[in-house]
């Protein structure tokens, strides 16, 4: 799968991502890498030794992006699982199946990440334009 691209948004209070890719799956995969980067502020230096499955069914693409980011963060907060890569299959607006790979580093390292209060609805976008998929998501930290 072709990898998507992410860039951090200059938001005054919070953190966010601009995402691009040739397909919804590529954008979602980039969202995972972008989110982990946002949370740790750097490459988390984690080997993809373990796998987790994620399945989502939402109203549409923007809702799917929000739920996807929430799932990645939930793995971190509840299980200490730092996801670093994923095989994503987005079979339609709002539907996703993914295998997420990462590891569970010592809890002290996990605690060093930024806490995510929420994946917000503010300026949430995920749509195709001119053959390219683009998305935007802002996190309350």
């Amino acid at each position: 799968m072709e990898r998507g691209r992410f860039a951090e948004i200059e938001h005054t209070a919070d953190l966010g991502l601009e995402l691009e890719g040739s397909s919804p799956a590529a954008v979602l995969e980039a969202a995972l890498r972008g989110l982990v980067r946002v949370l740790f502020g750097e490459d988390p230096d984690v080997e993809p030794r373990e796998e987790r499955s994620v399945e989502l069914r939402e109203e549409g693409y923007p809702e799917l992006l929000k739920a996807w980011c929430e799932s990645i963060y939930r793995l971190l907060e509840e299980d200490g699982f730092v996801a670093v890569e994923a095989d994503v299959e987005a079979s339609g607006p709002g539907t996703l199946r993914a295998v997420v790979r990462g590891a569970r580093p010592p809890r002290a390292r996990v605690a060093r990440a930024s806490e995510l209060k929420a994946v917000t609805w503010h300026q949430l976008r995920f749509a195709e334009a001119d053959g390219e998929w683009r998305a935007r998501v802002i996190f309350d930290v």
């Binding site: 919070d14 996990v110 990440a113 930024s114 209060k117 609805w121 309350d140």
Partner: protein
């Protein structure tokens, strides 16, 4: 960046965005001439305009001088809606419901502490108050029955469990408990997240600071608040943790799907609002009050842990330390209050999103201890900088629905703050300034450096000049615990 929003100065510290398009009321921003360019630089003024579109909004969409770009509402925003037929917006409260600040005094003089003992104290506080992502374990995991009690009783539950004294409740906004909390309105997921996080700091801009009173501006008010120059005090900034975040998210999702039913057309989904008298509006209020109670309980437990730590490290008993709670304020909340609007007393729902209640002397909802002085207002500054204790003044009731600022207000993005901190030894720099920092992660330390914020001295000065709240004391940090 920054949006082209028409704004006019209408008084020395007040700027107005004229009502236009779908705005139901004008926008009104409190700021000095020097601040307004920074405020124009991001999208916060657009957000002031958007909030002015809320159904049932009264007076004006207000912003305090610490305004900055948030999500939906600006941070530093205040909006009052009609209590009978107006709207309530979960985004107007924020994800961290009842994020707030509490300040405890002591009889300890800063000069008597000494750096080695302060270092030991900060290490011990860092161990006693868990911080960082998913932090938990300050107290035993709650049973579901205990959690329900906590959600209804707030800080009172903590006192009954031995985490503090009843006098603490007399010095907490609302007595540390909001009436009308409805645990049945809270999702199972939120309840699950709440079971382990009582007594934890979290991350981001939350902190626990050991501070010194560096200046008393008003001896009479300072004395009434139990403060004196050179005194060690402790400030705790945190909220309702994952429990509150989940409630906000659950209700925005639920309410967003009902907007066509209510006939609401809003410029930002994040402003999703429900009529206060709708099923969803009432359920949100019940759940939000649970989160408010959770946050008061959370800060109460952290204060208890702090007192224990002081006693252990300094080898003093409670009677010697006298770590009494000065006050506890919330700055992310919606409250049903009575206000006079155009000469008529009306019941309104005041959303304070990064704004603090500032009721003046004589107000019946100010606790008895402060009825004559006005409500203490706690305004934390940026990390390593100073914070303020202020008191509510009468103009707050006439102009801002009894509200004032809540902090310094960011002026630089987290991304830029991090870039500008690259290559610097921030902990060493702080220590050279006499501030000992204990942090779970350096990421938040970099993002929260003082250059990323406005000068809180300017913020509180604007509110004093406008007659909204006045300075009582300035506090400087000695040690900081960060998530």
């Amino acid at each position: 960046m920054g949006a082209d929003v028409r704004i006019e100065k209408i008084a020395p510290y007040v700027w107005e965005i004229p009502k236009e398009g779908p705005m139901r009321v004008p926008g009104r921003v409190y700021a000095s001439d020097e601040m307004i360019d920074d405020i124009r630089a991001d999208e916060s003024l657009v957000q002031v305009k958007n909030v002015a579109c809320l159904p049932g909004i009264l007076g004006a969409s207000l912003a305090m001088p610490d305004i900055h770009w948030g999500y939906g509402f600006p941070i530093g925003g205040v909006a009052a809606t009609e209590a009978d037929s107006g709207a309530i917006s979960p985004g107007g409260v924020g994800y961290d419901i009842n994020c707030g600040v509490r300040l405890a005094r002591s009889e300890v003089e800063a000069d008597s502490l000494g750096t080695p003992r302060l270092r030991t104290l900060m290490d011990a506080l860092f161990d006693a108050v868990p911080s960082g992502v998913g932090s938990e374990g300050a107290i035993e995991r709650l049973s579901t029955a205990d959690e329900r009690k906590l959600l209804r009783q707030g800080a009172r539950w903590a006192i009954e469990e031995g985490f503090g004294s009843p006098a603490d409740l007399d010095h907490t906004e609302e007595g540390g408990r909001m009436e009308g909390a409805d645990p049945d309105a809270v999702s199972d997921r939120a309840k699950e997240r709440g079971l382990t996080q009582v007594g934890t700091l979290g991350s981001g801009n939350h902190f626990l600071e050991v501070q010194k009173v560096s200046k008393i501006y008003d001896e009479s008010l300072g004395s009434a608040f139990g403060l004196f120059e050179g005194q060690v005090v402790v400030m705790i900034h945190s909220g309702s943790r994952g429990f509150g975040y989940q409630i906000c998210d659950d209700f925005i999702k639920r309410i967003k799907s009902k907007l066509p039913v209510y006939g609401y057309d809003l410029p930002d989904v994040q402003l999703a609002a429900a009529p206060l008298d709708s099923e969803e509006g009432e359920a949100y209020l019940g759940a939000m009050r649970c989160a408010a109670n959770y946050a008061w309980c959370n800060r109460q437990v952290m204060l208890h842990k702090t007192r224990e730590t002081f006693q252990k490290v300094l080898g003093s008993g409670p009677a010697d330390l006298r770590m009494d709670l000065v006050y506890d304020v919330c700055h992310n909340i919606a409250k049903v209050e009575d206000h006079e609007i155009d000469g008529e007393r009306r019941r309104v729902c005041v959303h304070r999103k990064g704004a603090t209640r500032a009721f003046p002397p004589g107000h019946e909802e100010v606790p008895a201890a402060y009825r004559e002085t006005g409500q203490p207002v706690l305004v934390p500054g940026s990390m390593g900088n100073y914070s303020y204790v202020c008191a509510g003044q009468s103009a707050a009731m006439k102009e801002t629905f009894g509200s004032t600022c809540h902090g310094a207000g960011r002026r630089m993005s987290r991304t830029r703050a991090k870039k500008e901190s690259r290559g610097r030894d921030l902990l060493k720099e702080m220590e050279e300034q006499g501030v000992i920092v204990r942090a779970t992660g350096m990421r938040t330390v970099a993002e929260e450096m003082s250059h990323a914020y406005k000068d809180v001295a300017d913020v509180v000065a604007v509110m004093e000049e406008a007659g909204i709240s006045r300075r009582v004391a300035r506090l400087v940090p000695l040690g900081v615990v960060k998530g």
